[in-house]
């Protein structure tokens, strides 16, 4: 397997985007990534699209996007790993390049969730577990699944709703500095605590929003990458794992086993000491679809000991200057969570962090040259941990 670099990245403005169709939305990210790499659509030998859909009208998004963006007749496919579809697109593209099958491959994600009304979107995501045993009879929702984890975590370790809100406050703060984020305003713990419950103990401000958005990254083999750019960002390792579809089959609800396994696998491949990964990393983007998810991520990734993740939030250790800065993009919480695009957007953000080209106030100091993306699909159903390096 040969080394694979990221040579171009693009992200659309995230949010409520009735101003564009799905392929037009994809083009925003595709064009930015092509411009970044100084390539044309015809240079892309293959492309992989992360998209979950159901709420949007196009059942074959890879085909529609391929035509609109001028990527066809290159080979394109759509991949699905729920909210981690974007990471699965990056991983599939990585394999195409690493294997030598292609020199230049694009991974992208696009989602137009607002083509359907909110209750329909809630219905679709709620069905994303084990349909018959969790939804048909019991009407679980996506916040509901994470709330089951939040209740267990809070009972086990004594974390409070205010601790969870600290995550929302941090991510809204950094989102306010990211012009592409859906939410542009900082919030306070008090505002968060006052927001309505969506699935007790999780509130509206604990939750990522319904988002339209797209992201694209262009991957290239080592030789080609060095011709395209002076600052290639290397994909050092990808670790992936899956959890049970039925939450009832989990041993433990205070963390996500699949994320722990994905981290272990990525750390081994990247040569990162799993007992102290923060020593190796400048910055991380983690999957904060709900605030509890970011706290569990701290522990599943080994940024904090088991049962102490909420203390990182409480002590503000994941801001710039703390133990490790997390979600300087605003995270899913404030940047938005266009399901299939999220994982690709994480990789685009970290690439720009490592190149030191993000907006003032949210640029992490880059000293070690390594960054980590943690992208979870469903409720620990899929997990991908991707390590990037300069």
């Amino acid at each position: 397997m040969r080394r694979v670099a990221i040579v171009g990245v693009g992200v659309s403005k995230f949010g409520y985007r009735p101003d564009v169709s799905l392929p037009e939305l994809a083009w925003e990210a595709v064009k930015e990534a092509l411009d970044d790499a100084r390539l044309d659509a015809k240079d892309v030998e293959a492309y992989v699209v992360g998209n979950v859909g159901g709420w949007s009208s196009e059942p074959l998004p890879a085909v529609v996007v391929g035509e609109y963006c001028g990527l066809a007749p290159s080979s394109g496919i759509r991949v699905e790993a729920a909210c981690a579809s974007g990471s699965s697109a990056v991983r599939t593209a990585y394999h195409m390049v690493a294997s030598g099958e292609a020199d230049i491959v694009m991974a992208m994600g696009v989602e137009k969730m607002n083509e359907s009304p909110t209750p329909t979107v809630v219905e679709f995501i709620g069905r994303a577990g084990n349909y018959f045993w969790e939804f048909e009879n019991f009407g679980l929702t996506f916040p509901g699944y994470y709330a089951l984890h939040a209740t267990a975590y809070m009972n086990k370790y004594g974390a409070t709703e205010a601790d969870l809100c600290e995550v929302a406050v941090k991510n809204h703060y950094y989102g306010s500095l990211n012009p592409k984020a859906q939410f542009q305003k900082p919030i306070t713990v008090e505002e968060c605590l006052k927001s309505k419950y969506v699935a007790w103990p999780l509130k509206l401000y604990d939750s990522s929003p319904i988002t339209d958005g797209s992201a694209a990254v262009i991957l290239a083999g080592e030789e080609v990458a060095k011709k395209i750019t002076d600052t290639p960002v290397w994909i050092k390792a990808i670790g992936a794992a899956n959890g049970t579809s039925n939450l009832s089959k989990r041993e433990d609800f205070a963390g996500l086993e699949a994320a722990r396994l994905a981290a272990q696998r990525a750390y081994r491949r990247a040569g990162i000491d799993p007992s102290e990964p923060v020593k190796h990393l400048d910055v991380a983007e983690v999957h904060d679809c709900f605030t509890i998810a970011e706290i569990m991520a701290y522990e599943d990734l080994g940024f904090a000991k088991r049962g102490e993740g909420y203390k990182l939030a409480r002590e503000k250790q994941t801001y710039i200057g703390g133990v490790i800065p997390v979600n300087l993009s605003g995270g899913l919480k404030a940047k938005g969570h266009p399901i299939g695009a999220t994982g690709v957007a994480m990789i685009a953000e970290l690439t720009r962090q490592l190149r030191q080209e993000v907006e003032r106030g949210r640029q992490a100091p880059i000293r070690k040259g390594m960054a980590l993306a943690h992208n979870v699909g469903g409720t620990g159903h899929y997990a991908f941990v991707t390590v990037l390096s300069l």
């Binding site: 101003d19 209750p119 069905r127 509901g144 709330a147 267990a152 999780l202 609800f253």
Partner: protein
Amino acid sequence: MSTVVEKLREYLDRAEAEQIRQLDQLVAATGLPVYRDPKTGALIWVDVRELRLRFQLSVNRIAKFVEGLSQERLYYTVCRRCGAKYFPPQADCPRCKSSDMEWREASREGELVTWTVINVKPASFAHNKDYVVGIVKMPDGFNVTAWIDADPSTLRPGMRLRLFVGKRPGENYITYWFRPV
């Protein structure tokens, strides 16, 4: 007496009636199903083709589970070759690749592991009041996800809950739920 299916259909029709009326008016007035999004001014084409989904799920190989419900019992499966237990019941054992399964009735009491209250409901559950969903550890060696009929403020981890199988009030089809002992 209307069934769960009729009730839900009526609810969804009511929720959508106004939109459909507006769409028809739009087409009648302008000849196009097009309007300006009030929030952004973006031009929107409203899909005139509606897609209604209702799936046909096979429960053929877990017929014993369905039969059990009608007798107010909850069944799980145990692999006769390797002893692995399955709830939700599985007809096949991936551990030893056997499909020789024994059906056993689940115990009537378990311990609460975790729970949530669904406040913002999916469209197909929107006709319900807020409901509690929990995961309950059964002494048989598996957990069961189901509704918990209780005031959520009284719930504690580890508390004893009793399993009920029967017609869910208001929906009139047989399912299973828990109540504090």
